[in-house]
């Protein structure tokens, strides 16, 4: 079986743009990018499903707080990610398998760092 990648849920307005503008697009191969219109769309069940299906981890990449085009999407996402991590803890899994970060569309370098980190830890 093919080894599954970390799933990166990206907000179309911020982190996805940062991903599109990566100077080294090959970094994107480290993760499975799933574009969401806004992180407000992210569902706890969907994140858990990713882990259930064998993805080693989930990255939730939204825009900086107070910078959500849809006003409250990232705030809601923060709460939902908190709950996912709590559930993981209860299930006995490492909570850090689900991580959240806030990237603007200009933060390609930060995204690159995150992706490089993933590549390194996998190597």
């Amino acid at each position: 079986m093919e080894k599954k990648k970390i799933v990166a849920f990206c907000c179309e307005n911020s982190s996805l743009k940062a991903a599109e503008a990566l100077s080294d697009p090959s970094l994107l191969e480290a993760v499975e990018i799933v574009a969401l219109p806004c992180l407000g769309k992210i569902e706890i069940g969907l994140v858990l499903k990713c882990l259930e299906k064998g993805h080693p981890g989930v990255l939730v990449l939204g825009c900086p707080l107070d910078n959500c085009q849809y006003l409250r999407g990232n705030y809601r996402a923060v709460k939902r990610v908190e709950r996912v991590r709590q559930l993981l803890g209860e299930a006995g899994l490492d909570e850090s398998r689900v991580r959240m970060d806030f990237l603007s569309s200009l933060d390609s370098h930060r995204l690159a760092e995150i992706l490089q980190g993933i590549k390194r830890s996998e190597a």
Partner: protein, 222 residues
């Protein structure tokens, strides 16, 4: 609506770990509204359980389903096969639904995933609060529409206890003193005088204290 909260995960896990094939059954009415046992929570609990089982090396096969209401027979029809095929049902309904499901499927183990709490209202998303204690003899007419039985920690009918301070209950500072609410309301309604009346001892027999409740209405009986 009836409000409920999910049981601690560990308690649920221990309840179901030896079930073999488990059906998690959600309820689409009250517990969906209070976000404790609707389709979404069914999915979340199922995924969490699967992850926990994998992590702890136990084998549990989990199916998911949600029906409109678990307190009425007819709604179970679509999931009958699933229930019968499972070794146990983890019901995410209120206590009524859990028991009714259990009654319907003789010999099937039906387990509660929720702790049923009270009859209440959504004050705001994520905050629910009790309004009715189901005492069976409504007294709201005498208290300006605020129930002393449900909203006073001691169910006092003749005024607040000594512990209320700044409009909050001594039991929990987050809870409004029911008697403060009654006083405010009655004073706004110009009915303060009627608070002077001594409320006679209450007949509790219409509620829980009278034994399991039963209503029979012959006019609507078929």
């Amino acid at each position: 609506m009836i409000t409920a909260v999910q049981k601690p995960f560990e308690e649920i896990y221990r309840m179901v770990e030896a079930s073999g094939k488990l059906l998690i059954l959600g309820c689409g009415t009250c517990v969906t509204v209070c976000m404790a046992g609707g389709e979404k929570e069914v999915g979340i609990l199922a995924s969490t359980l699967r992850l926990a089982c994998r992590e702890r090396g136990s084998s549990l096969e989990i199916e998911e389903a949600t029906i409109e209401r678990q307190c009425d027979r007819e709604f179970f029809d679509p999931v009958k096969a699933q229930v019968l095929g499972a070794d146990a049902v983890l019901s995410m309904a209120c206590g009524v639904g859990v028991q009714f499901c259990s009654e319907l499927f003789e010999g099937k183990r039906v387990l509660p995933a929720l702790n049923t709490r009270f009859y209440g209202t959504t004050v705001q998303q994520g905050l629910w609060s009790e309004r009715c204690a189901g005492c069976g003899t409504c007294v709201l007419d005498r208290f300006g529409g605020v129930c002393p039985v449900a909203r006073c920690a001691k169910s006092l009918l003749n005024g607040p206890c000594g512990g209320a301070q700044d409009g909050k209950c001594e039991v929990d500072k987050e809870i409004d003193c029911g008697w403060q609410l009654i006083y405010d309301r009655m004073s706004a309604l110009g009915l303060l005088d009627s608070l002077m009346e001594i409320q006679p001892v209450k007949d509790w027999s219409t509620g829980r204290d009278g034994g399991p409740g039963r209503i029979r209405r012959q006019d609507v009986e078929l």
